[in-house]
């Protein structure tokens, strides 16, 4: 068993006076796929934002490779790829410019790699169209193009496949499986019916409010 990338110990989070989850503990190991499940409003997004380090209002401990994450924030962020509800695409910029800006602070890439990644997501020929002229699914694909060139070992994908067609989702499933094979760790939430072998599950909901 390899060392866990991310460890969550006794996580508890309250939102608007409502307890979302408590005593939540799990580990994310390299080479695993984990799906966070639960119906609407059970805190899937909140949990993923906590895992990504966007939400700091929780109690409990989040450890990155055995050490508290708060001590090594930059180290942690270097190894994390987070794609959320809002894809982070600027409507006025072209897909290529968007992808370039998203990758700029993370890893050295040349335009040719970015170009190929966009082609890989089916956006060949759209590189120079302003993103606001693209459909919602195409905009999402621009953000997902990062998956094709990402070196980060930990992926946190929050509803990242909304507005993607069936063929696209199948391709992403394939990509996630490959990724896990090669030692990456993936945490996802999705309402799509993902068919992935060896998928871990974290089910939220069902905290009895005993106050």
């Amino acid at each position: 068993m390899s060392e866990p990338l991310l460890q969550v110990v006794n996580l508890q989070c309250e939102r608007d006076g409502r307890l979302l989850f408590r005593d939540l503990s799990f580990s994310i190991l390299p080479g695993t796929l984990t799906r966070v499940e639960g119906s609407n409003g059970t805190g899937k997004t909140t949990l993923l934002r906590i895992l990504a380090g966007l939400n700091d209002s929780y109690s409990g401990e989040v450890m990155w490779r055995g050490q508290p994450r708060a001590w090594q924030r930059e180290e942690f962020l270097r190894n994390l790829l987070y794609i959320g509800h809002r894809p982070g695409i600027k409507p006025l910029l072209t897909p290529l410019e968007n992808l370039r800006a998203l990758m700029a602070g993370r890893q050295q890439t040349d335009d040719q790699t970015l170009w190929r990644a966009l082609e890989g997501t089916g956006l060949g020929g759209f590189q120079d169209v302003p993103s606001r002229n693209l459909s919602a699914g195409q905009q999402r694909r621009v953000a997902l193009a990062r998956l094709l060139i990402s070196e980060e070992p930990l992926w946190v994908l929050d509803e990242a496949f909304t507005a993607i067609d069936h063929a696209g989702v199948a391709a992403i499933e394939e990509l996630l499986v490959q990724r896990a094979h090669r030692g990456g760790a993936v945490v996802v939430t999705t309402h799509h019916n993902l068919q992935l072998p060896d998928m871990g599950r974290i089910t939220l909901g069902g905290v009895a409010d005993d106050r």
Binding site: A52, G53, L54, N55, D56, S57, R65, E74, E75, L77, R78, N79, L80, Y82, G84, H85, R86, P87, G88, I89, K90, P91, L92, L93, E97, R100, A101, L102, A104, G105, R106, Q107, Q108, T113, R116, A117, G120, T121, P130, L144, L147, L148, I149, S150, E151, E152, P153, G168, A171, I172, E174, L175, Q178, R179, R182, G183, G184
Partner: protein, 243 residues
């Protein structure tokens, strides 16, 4: 979709990361690129500035004596309000489309990235005002030396306004109608800058030495440069935590 064959998945150490300066440059470039794609937005603060300034001679008095006396103050107040009006846009669009989350998750110190972002905001909203000031100064019957001093104070003062404003903009980000609260939070902090900015122009018009005033303005700028990015980074984290 298939991944690039060259992609390697390893724990990434400090050596494989992007330096702070290229990352700041990328943030600045993206904001400037976006701003120049939507040029009519660039004109808004500028138009506001010109309109406010040109209404004073019409509304109060076109007498050269009055304009000479009040011109510096009017230009400063107009610039301040113009910066204040544009502040809400500093983070709002990025917040709505999710780029702000990605910015916070970049593996560089957030305060430096925000410094780059604020610089970009200043370049597109406040710098044009400074460049237009000589023209409006002539319209307000100011003398050449006063105009030079006025431009210099605005050049030093408007970055202070943008930097202080970034704290307020970050704090009020999660609110639906942030406008009034933002003004209430920020205007008290703007007042010292305004007082010394206009004070410098008055002193110059009276023929007094302005170096002491300038030094104070410079001190404001240094203070804002060193402290404001930290404060807005902290405020931004809080705002994003609650969204």
């Amino acid at each position: 979709m298939t991944a690039e064959a060259t992609v390697t998945i390893t724990i990434r150490s400090e050596a494989s990361s992007i330096g702070v300066l290229p990352a700041m440059w990328a943030v600045l470039m993206r904001d400037l690129q976006g701003a120049f794609r939507q040029r009519q937005d660039l004109l808004n603060p500028l138009l506001f500035f010109v309109m406010v300034v040109s209404l004073f001679p019409l509304g109060v008095s076109p007498a050269p004596a009055f304009l000479k006396e009040a011109g510096g103050g009017i230009l400063w107040v107009a610039a301040l309000l113009s910066v204040l009006l544009s502040l809400d846009h500093l983070f709002r669009h990025d917040y709505d489309d999710g780029t702000l989350e990605q910015l916070v998750l970049q593996p560089q110190p957030l305060f430096l990235l925000l410094l780059a972002k604020t610089l970009g905001h200043w370049v597109v909203t406040a710098l044009p005002l400074v460049l237009l000031t000589p023209l409006l100064g002539v319209m307000m019957q100011l003398e050449g030396s006063s105009i030079a001093v006025l431009c210099l104070t605005l050049l030093i003062g408007t970055p202070v306004l943008s930097l202080i404003g970034s704290i307020g903009a970050a704090l009020t980000l999660g609110l639906r109608s942030a406008g009034v609260l933002l003004s209430l939070l920020i205007i008290p902090l703007y007042i010292p800058v305004l007082i010394f900015g206009t004070g410098t122009v008055t002193a110059a018009a009276d023929g007094a030495a302005v170096s002491a005033y300038m030094a104070l303005m410079g001190a404001f700028l240094v203070l804002a440069l060193t402290l404001a990015p930290f404060a807005s980074a902290a405020a931004l984290r809080i705002s994003l935590s609650n969204s």
